[in-house]
Symmetry: C2
Subunit: 191 residues, 2 copies
């Protein structure tokens, strides 16, 4: 496994060479092409993905047949359908590469074993979920607090490099409105 993952782990926990060697045995690595799916609606959600490079998104298809993006994952983020993963049930989501990406993959069984056998990883994942939960709570606050227009400007100012990186229609999908309305917002400020 690439050194970037070890560096990432060491931001949270201390590990020695032996431990890292053991941790490595639980993961596999995969390359995904743009638009390739790592998870599809109806499948059992067996894997948890860690993004080494590139960008993934999670989306579902609503009753009008429109893709609704609920999450992006870039370098050093974990992504899966956590509810379906935890219960090993079928998912309502797709996980797709927005860019060509490199990911680490761990199966649910492997993750359980890893947590049992390497206690430091309990601590690591406690941090990961704690931060993810806190971020998710703030996201919910913004969804309540901001208008669609405000959401766009907030995201635009907070993650400018991200707005550069992904197409507008995915950004609109993530922010919960239509590409047409995003276009309207952008034209307002230009004038």
């Amino acid at each position: 496994m690439p050194a970037t993952f070890r560096n990432h782990l060491e931001k949270f926990i201390e590990i020695n060479d032996d431990e890292y060697a053991e941790i490595s045995t639980y993961f596999t690595q995969a390359s995904v092409r743009k638009k390739e799916n790592l998870l599809e609606e109806g499948q059992i959600c067996r894997s948890h993905f860690f993004v080494l490079s590139g960008c993934l998104r999670k989306f579902f298809i609503n009753d009008k047949g429109v893709e609704q993006t609920t999450e992006f994952a870039i370098e050093n983020w974990w992504i899966t359908d956590n509810m379906a993963y935890e219960r090993q049930q079928s998912t309502g989501f797709f996980i797709q590469a927005v860019e060509p990406s490199e990911v680490l993959v761990i199966s649910h069984d492997a993750q359980e074993a890893l947590l049992r056998n390497v206690p430091a990883m309990e601590r690591y994942f406690r941090f990961v979920y704690q931060r993810a939960y806190a971020a998710s709570q703030m996201r919910i606050k913004y969804l309540y607090d901001y208008s669609r227009e405000d959401l766009y400007y907030h995201f635009h100012d907070h993650y400018p490099e991200f707005v550069q990186r992904i197409p507008q229609y995915l950004l609109a999908s993530f922010l919960g409105f239509t590409p047409e309305y995003l276009s309207e917002i952008r034209s307002k400020r230009r004038s």
Copy 2:
């Protein structure tokens, strides 16, 4: 500390009497009256609350001066402003008792020490945050997928005892719309 907390812990981890005795030393217990605040906007968020009985809610006040409820916590749920708690920063939220409640309180410092000294609690909190994160993700999905009316019926069918328990205007606030609109929705079905 009441046995209900030990029962709750033992759904996730195994602990013996000595461990439970140690765990107990990190917590204090508090009674809160209806409408009493456990946290107020502008304060440093120092505590994490576990609800033994009763019901708490978390809300913020938006730019129009309206209270927006983002979360309820009933028996066996944890609640705090996780982002502010983690960073020991000032919060933008209030946490208030909806009903007379009994809570366990742990400070940030105490929680850190507890996690260091009782490894089983790393595992416990990993579970807690993992589930909370998964639930939060599903909540976000619903916010994207459902109309306000659908949100009401979804909540109504999924947590009927909860709809009984809390006043309508808090439910409207939690679902992200006005009491007037909730009233309109309800009158539709009655006819």
